[in-house]
Symmetry: C2
DNA sequence: CCAATTTGTCTCATTTTTTGAAATCTTAAT
DNA sequence: ATTAAGATTTCAAAAAATGAGACAAATTGG
């Protein structure tokens, strides 16, 4: 099929993860690929852009757009531009309302955000991937943290926490398959340095990452435990300049206490 | 086509809105219908349930499930059950981050929620429909407000506010096409009573709906203005027993002030 | 522990949908 | 008014989805 070939050839392919298993349903996959092409970097697309990006003819592109628009997953942004539709918000609400962790964590994260004003995040480790469950934006920052969908293992405080507190087998597996990438001058790239970091994190019970992922950005993260296992981590991040001395200490206390409260809440009813 | 016929015949059809325009892309539509079948009332489905609900054969059903699962829109919930996947959360984040109204409203709503602890909502009127842009759950309530996706016009404080402050033409159009439904003993069902309500709301600048939509639930709503028009409304709702005297007055002040602040923020940069 | 039930995968001929080029209509911009 | 770009429509050819059933794997239950 022509369009499909063109699509694979298209360098910046839409396949977000390493390599999605063979699909069984091409048409639906395409519709979804269009949806998932929407990102914080590109939250608005024109039909022409979608057509170009996927190597599709115009008529086909409009068919997909209309399908997605008719069910509220896409919506018009002005004329001839399309953004995500309200059904996306609805689905997320359903997902959040049902997630037992998010349910108990939400108010705690909200309070944390209210106290310090910086960005607050909740991550989950699923196998060797890290996914963002919740993200409350900083109230003051003009520039938001870069929305890296694939949180890289060796950097980022929350990823390190998840790694440090993961079961030994998982941790070693991940470490053996990880090739550290140097994001900034301060990223720790040797396995030795990384192991030392993890040890420190395990000992103190939280992680502080200073400018390892982003220049000028600091992150503080703490582990959440449920059933003896650490699958989630709370973190807070923002301009490195803001995390110093007393305030940094307060943030660390805030983040660790939030994590502890969530752990406790999960232990209670669960 | 057989399955399609079966699907339409299936009483509780998946078509959320009145009647979606003729689709152009059957396969993608199906995948989306499955996704949109997820609701707060049914956040987890088994393959068998999906097959039964849409009148599909098992093999086809699994194909769709896998397609959705492979791209993270669905995820496993235990064995042989499926829930919404993390990509749904990601998409919603993208949508929220890009929405100019949500951006400025989020912190205000969050604060409102923090102050009173009850459920806070942000609605938008799009033509004659009301869509929920944001919804922060009550921190204490054990029972959440019913998640009515189709907010009915004559009831619900926020819908009334949106109606009261809508351009006259729109309002009359909506009113003429509205057949009030009696939700509770206190729902106002005559056009006359409804008009009187709207007048009151316009005069005082906010709406208080006591047990009109849900027995035992009260809602307080206020209009948000941008470009002289009211397209959005903030509201707060919870157990009727909690909204009395001084606290009710405080809530009204909180909600109206939140709405005013959002209006102002929209006027500023926009 | 084995049998029964349910879940999930796979195959393949048949049917249905999707595709894409171009004509056509619409809307905006110059 | 003229041009350009957006959007829809048509139709035959091409590709993909379908669905029945065979089968394997995992659960369940007695």
């Amino acid at each position: 099929m022509k369009a499909r070939a063109a699509r694979s050839a298209d360098a910046a392919a839409p396949d977000t993860e390493k390599s999605r298993p063979r699909s069984v349903n091409t048409t639906a996959d395409r519709a979804i690929d269009i949806l998932l092409a929407y990102s914080s970097d590109k939250p608005v697309w024109s039909a022409a852009e979608i057509a170009a990006h996927f190597g599709m003819p115009r008529s086909t592109t409009y068919r997909y757009i209309n399908t997605l628009r008719n069910c509220g997953l896409l919506a018009d942004e002005g004329s001839s531009l399309y953004r995500l539709g309200h059904k996306v918000l609805h689905l997320a609400r359903v997902a959040k309302m049902h997630d037992p962790v998010l349910r108990v964590a939400a108010p705690v994260l909200s309070e944390l955000s209210g106290t310090f004003g910086d960005a607050v995040l909740l991550h989950e480790r699923v196998g060797s991937e890290v996914i963002t469950l919740e993200r409350i934006e900083s109230r003051m920052a003009l520039v938001t943290l870069s929305q890296s969908k694939l949180l890289p293992w060796p950097a980022a405080a929350s990823a390190k926490v998840l790694l440090a507190f993961a079961p030994a087998a998982d941790r070693e597996d991940i470490l053996s398959r990880t090739v550290p990438i140097r994001y900034t001058g301060k990223t720790h790239t040797t396995h030795k340095a990384l192991l030392a970091d993890l040890k420190t994190i395990t000992r103190q019970g939280y992680a502080v990452g200073i400018e390892e992922l982003d220049e000028g950005a600091t992150g503080i993260a703490a582990p959440i435990f449920s059933d003896q296992e650490c699958r989630y981590a709370v973190s807070m991040g923002g301009a490195a300049a803001k995390f110093h001395g007393k305030r940094l200490a307060a943030v660390v206390r805030g983040v660790t206490s939030a994590a502890a409260r969530i752990s406790k809440a999960l232990a209670g009813p669960g």
